[in-house]
């Protein structure tokens, strides 16, 4: 029998990927508005609670270090979902967690698909995104 909690775990992973996606866009914005947050940026907690939008302050380098691994996410202290992730490291501002098992695969797959999609869209992403939304 399949593990009945797998769909739930996949959903938790998807939630975190959605917030990671927001943080990726925030990183883009920080680059566009380079006067704001070029050194210290404010991102949002990437925990699996969809109602959470706890702000997290990190440097761009800290964010990119977490982002470099598709299985690791940045959450506010105390926001760890131990059923789907383990703590990698942390400090007073944020905790880095790594997805485990199927949720890790979901997170990795979604991240790869996102990256592939963004590469396909390339410099025309804005126009294509508009077309996709209205399709």
């Amino acid at each position: 029998m399949a593990n009945g909690s797998e769909p739930r775990r996949a959903r938790l992973a998807q939630n975190e990927v959605l917030y990671r996606n927001v943080n990726d866009r925030i990183e883009d914005l920080n680059q566009v508005f380079d006067a704001v947050a070029a050194i210290d940026g404010e991102w949002v907690c990437e925990c699996s609670d969809m109602s959470c939008a706890t702000p997290i302050k990190t440097t761009v380098a800290e964010y990119e270090a977490v982002r470099a691994n598709p299985r690791t996410f940045m959450v506010a202290p105390g926001h760890v979902s131990r059923e789907v992730e383990r703590v990698v490291r942390g400090n007073s501002r944020f905790t880095v967690v790594e997805k485990l098992g199927a949720p890790a695969e979901v997170a990795q797959q979604i991240t790869h698909e996102q990256q592939a999609g963004r590469r396909r869209l390339g410099s025309h992403s804005r126009v294509c995104s508009q077309a996709l939304l209205t399709a």
């Binding site: 927001v22 914005l29 006067a35 704001v36 949002v44 979604i110 992403s125 995104s129 939304l133």
Partner: protein, 92 residues
């Protein structure tokens, strides 16, 4: 004038970011409330607004409409179209 241009630039950048977020949510077939960014004129704003991606797409079909957190409207240059506890819609 310069301030108005900067405000418009910020709103357009937020709007473009939200378009990408909506596309990813659509590709994931997300049936939850999706986190979007406030599209107000304040560059430092990072307020999160949650709604189904289809709802965002419907608003976004109107080229001059933006979603903002309640209280983030700039009523000198935009008109309030709709209000809700979660977000407001303004039109340039």
């Amino acid at each position: 004038m310069r301030r108005a241009e900067e405000a418009r630039e910020a709103e357009d950048a937020f709007r473009a970011a939200n378009r990408d977020i909506a596309v990813v949510a659509r590709d994931l077939n997300a049936n939850t409330l999706v986190p979007f960014l406030c599209e107000c004129s304040e560059r430092a704003c990072r307020a999160i607004l949650r709604m189904p991606w289809r709802e965002y797409a419907a608003i976004h079909e109107h080229q001059h409409r933006y979603i903002v957190a309640p209280g983030h409207e700039l009523l000198e240059v935009e008109q309030l179209v709709s209000e809700s506890p979660a977000y407001n819609v303004v039109e340039k």
